[in-house]
Structures are given as structure tokens and as C-alpha cells.
């Protein structure tokens, strides 16, 4: 365990020689450890988001946030491996899964590291029930920014892992774009199914809404955009 723990700073630094060896390892211990780090890191950050609404919501989001990452990764694992093969990357299923998990591990570590700061911001933000819209917008904006930065850095690392495996920049870029497109497509829909993550103040705190599979993310975005266009029209 201690040996695996010392790998986390190395993973963040993106030390090519070490990471290259891990991608070729046959043991599943490192994969399991990455999973554990994602569960703890993103769970901690998820709890700070949910806490804004209620204590029970903090617990729910601490479970749902890592769940969203795992479901996205495992739902897409087979597809991502096949896409990588078709593009010509020549990497194994295990390497595909591990590269993605390591990317999410870096993101989870960043999220865990900023969790004390978001908790502090939360402590200073007026509650959702107070009707203070500035606090609501500010907290949302901060979290979107943090998630964006964590995602960008994680994908930068994922690109490095792919470069290590393929040894070709253009190939690594193509595989990354293909994986990102798949993850975005599935991840957005899963986040819709697993809603609420914060929840509107007038709705009750729930693990899942009563109708988690009713409608989808893209339909909702389309309907919202249509409503805006219709309201703006004279």
C-alpha cells in the first residue's frame, strides 16, 4: 500500500519512465489503487458540493461523484479500446482502462487538494435558502472553474500516457480526441441520470430523482435552447 501511495506524486509529476512501466504491469493492484484514490478524492470534493444543499446531500454526492467517474470509464472502456485499435494506437484493453483511470486519478487528487478551499468558500457563502443569488452564482462558477482546470490537467496527463504508449504525437492526439468525445457523450448523460448533485432549494433531498431515466441530457439542453430562442423572438 505504501509503495503504491508513493506512486501518486510521481503520477502527478508525469514521470515518463516510471509511468511507462506501470502501464505494462500485469498486476491489478495499481488499477484497484487508482480506483480507491478516485473514490476518496472525488468523493471528498463531491461532499463539499453537496454540503451546500444539506448534510445528507453531502453524503449522497460523495457516493455519486466517484460513481459517475467509474460508470463513465467502464461504460466506455470497450469502445475506447476499440477506437484506439482502429486509429492504430495498438494498446491493450488493460492499458486503455489504466490510462483513463490514471487520468481520473490525477483529476481526483486535484479535486481533493482544493476541497478544503471549496469548503472554506462554502462556509462563507450564504445558504441556498437565503435567496442570495450572488452566493449561488459565485459558488457554481468556482466549482465549474475547478472542475474545468482538473479536467484540463487530467487530459493533459492522459495525452502524455498515450504518447508514451504510441510514441507518435498525431496518433496520441487522435486517440485522446476520440476518447474525450465518447466520455463527454456518455458522462453528460450519466450525470443527468444521477441527478441531483446540488438540487434546487425547493425540491427535497434525494439520492436520485424518482424518474432518473426519463428524458436525457441532450433533449433537455435542446429544449432549453429552444425556449430561449422562442422567448427572444418578437
Amino acid at each position: 500500500m505504501k509503495k503504491l501511495l508513493t506512486r501518486l506524486p510521481v503520477l502527478c509529476r508525469g514521470d515518463s519512465s516510471a509511468i511507462s512501466g506501470w502501464l505494462d504491469e500485469q498486476s491489478w493492484r495499481w488499477i484497484a489503487f487508482c480506483g480507491l484514490t478516485i473514490a476518496l478524492g472525488s468523493g471528498l470534493y463531491g461532499a463539499t458540493i453537496g454540503l451546500w444543499r444539506a448534510e445528507l446531500m453531502a453524503l449522497y454526492v460523495a457516493i455519486k461523484f466517484p460513481l459517475l467517474i467509474f460508470l463513465t470509464t467502464f461504460c466506455n472502456a470497450l469502445l475506447n479500446w476499440m477506437l484506439a485499435l482502429m486509429i492504430g494506437a495498438g494498446i491493450t484493453f488493460r492499458q486503455t482502462l489504466l490510462a483513463q483511470l490514471m487520468g481520473f486519478t490525477v483529476a481526483s487528487l486535484i479535486l481533493a487538494a482544493v476541497a478544503p478551499i471549496t469548503l472554506f468558500i462554502l462556509f462563507n457563502t450564504p445558504s441556498l435558502e437565503s435567496g442570495d443569488t450572488f452566493g449561488h452564482s459565485f459558488f457554481m462558477l468556482i466549482n465549474v472553474g475547478i472542475l474545468g482546470v482538473a479536467g484540463l490537467v487530467a487530459n493533459g496527463r492522459l495525452y502524455r500516457f498515450l504518447l508514451l504508449q504510441t510514441g507518435n504525437r498525431a496518433l496520441a492526439r487522435k486517440v485522446l480526441v476520440a476518447w474525450l468525445a465518447g466520455n463527454l457523450l456518455v458522462g453528460a448523460q450519466l450525470s443527468w441520470n444521477l441527478r441531483p448533485f446540488i438540487g434546487a432549494p425547493h425540491l427535497e433531498v434525494q439520492f436520485l430523482r424518482p424518474n432518473p431515466f426519463e428524458g436525457n441530457f441532450y433533449e433537455t439542453v435542446f429544449r432549453a435552447a429552444k425556449r430561449i430562442v422562442e422567448e427572444a423572438a418578437p
Binding site: 506524486p9 509529476r13 508525469g14 487538494a113 478544503p116 472554506f120 462563507n124
Partner: protein, 237 residues
């Protein structure tokens, strides 16, 4: 044609980076030597904190930091007097320590992501060195701040003055931390600028969370949540 007698160019000694030159063990780790080295030869302190095995240097730095923050707090509290004499030093010390603890994990992760090879305790010691330098600089401003606090009754003016003092102290302190980490990793660490900005924001918010610091003594207002910008605009009105 007579040849011109051209003097050979003088050997100009190009000074090395002062941090590189001074990065060597500390001669002795007595309290005043630690303070002296922090101000004059911070590279020696960085060497001591990274390679030294003794506990004295980190302990002395911590004590110096706590002392400096307490003194600054007493002077800040002297503006309103009364309970603020003890409340402000307590708030300044706890606020700074909590802010450092809140931001420490993100500093470590950012450093790792930038390729830094230091361990968590080593990064903590570098932050301690930077904060202690800032603290020592605060002490340099104490007489000036005290004179103004006795001469004016405007809390807004004193607030701006203390913000300036904190800004200058933190600028030099955090710059030292960044220089030390850049030297140790032999690379530019521009991402630390982002962390310094976050740390400054957390400190500013902490000053609002623990309010009042400059004004008259009042119970803490933890339930009255407010952002520092809103608090300042309210104070200015």
C-alpha cells in the same frame, strides 16, 4: 604602421545567482542566527529545511512566525483597544495558520503537477520559511502602523494600510518560497503564481470571516456569511 597597444579585457566576474551561491548548510541553528539567515541568506535556511535533520530550525521559524503575527495583531488591536488587544492577535494567528493549512494540499499538488520533487513536509517547510519572512517584514512595519493608528480614527484608512502591509510582506515571503522551490527543482514554476493568488484570496476572505479586526470588538459573526468584497464595500459606505 604602429600597432595600437590594446589592453586585454579585464576579467569581469559575473556573479552567480545569489541563491545558488548561498545554498549551503547553516553555521549554527540558534534563534537569532535563524532570524538573521531568513532575512540575509534565505538560501541557507532553505538548505537547512530541506537537507537538515535537526528540529531546531523549523521550530524556531514557527515560533518567530507566531511571535511576529502576535505583535502585529496587538498593534492592529491597539487601534480600537479594549478586548481587541487580545482578540485581534488571536484572530491573526489562527486565521493565518488555518489559511496555510487550507491551501497546503493544493500547493503540494500544484507543485507535483509542475514537476516538483519535494515531499509534503518539505513543501510545508518552504511555505513556513516564506511566511516567516513575511512575518519578520510585518515587524518592520509595526512602528509605522502604530503611529498611524494613534493619529487617525478612520478604520477604513487603517484597513487599507494593513492591507498594504500584508501585501508587501506576503509578496516578498511567497516570492522567496517560489524562488526556493524553483531552485530546488531546477525549473520555472509559473503555476505557483496561481496558488499565491488563491492563498491571498483565502487570507482576504479569512479577514472577513473573523471580522471585526480593525473596528470595535464584537462577537464573531459566523452566521452572517459575507464575501470580502461585499464587506469592504459595506465598510467604505
Amino acid at each position: 604602421m604602429e600597432e595600437e597597444n590594446i589592453e586585454p579585457p579585464k576579467q569581469v566576474r559575473i556573479p552567480k545567482d545569489p541563491f545558488t551561491e548561498q545554498f549551503q548548510p547553516l553555521e549554527n541553528d540558534r534563534l537569532f542566527s535563524v532570524v538573521d539567515a531568513t532575512l540575509k541568506r534565505p538560501a541557507q535556511m532553505a538548505h537547512e529545511l530541506i537537507h537538515g535533520t535537526g528540529w531546531k530550525a523549523p521550530l524556531f521559524l514557527t515560533l518567530v512566525l507566531l511571535f511576529c503575527l502576535t505583535v502585529l495583531g496587538i498593534i492592529m488591536g491597539s487601534f480600537s483597544g479594549g478586548a481587541q488587544f487580545w482578540a485581534v492577535p488571536l484572530k491573526i494567528v489562527t486565521g493565518t495558520v488555518i489559511s496555510a493549512l487550507i491551501c497546503m494540499p493544493s500547493l503540494y499538488i500544484l507543485l507535483c503537477l509542475s514537476g516538483g520533487g519535494q515531499s509534503f513536509p518539505q513543501v510545508g517547510r518552504m511555505l513556513l520559511l516564506g511566511l516567516t519572512l513575511a512575518g519578520i517584514l510585518f515587524i518592520g512595519f509595526v512602528p509605522v502602523a502604530w503611529i498611524f493608528s494613534q493619529a487617525t480614527e478612520s478604520a477604513v484608512f487603517m484597513g487599507v494600510l494593513y492591507l498594504l502591509v500584508w501585501g508587501i510582506g506576503l509578496f516578498f515571503g511567497l516570492r522567496l518560497m517560489k524562488t526556493a522551490l524553483e531552485f530546488l527543482n531546477k525549473r520555472s514554476l509559473g503555476t505557483l503564481n496561481l496558488w499565491m493568488f488563491i492563498f491571498a484570496m483565502v487570507l482576504l476572505q479569512m479577514s472577513t470571516t473573523l471580522r471585526p479586526i480593525i473596528g470595535k470588538s464584537e462577537p464573531l459573526k459566523f452566521n452572517e456569511k459575507m464575501f470580502f468584497m461585499a464587506h469592504w464595500s459595506e465598510a467604505l459606505r
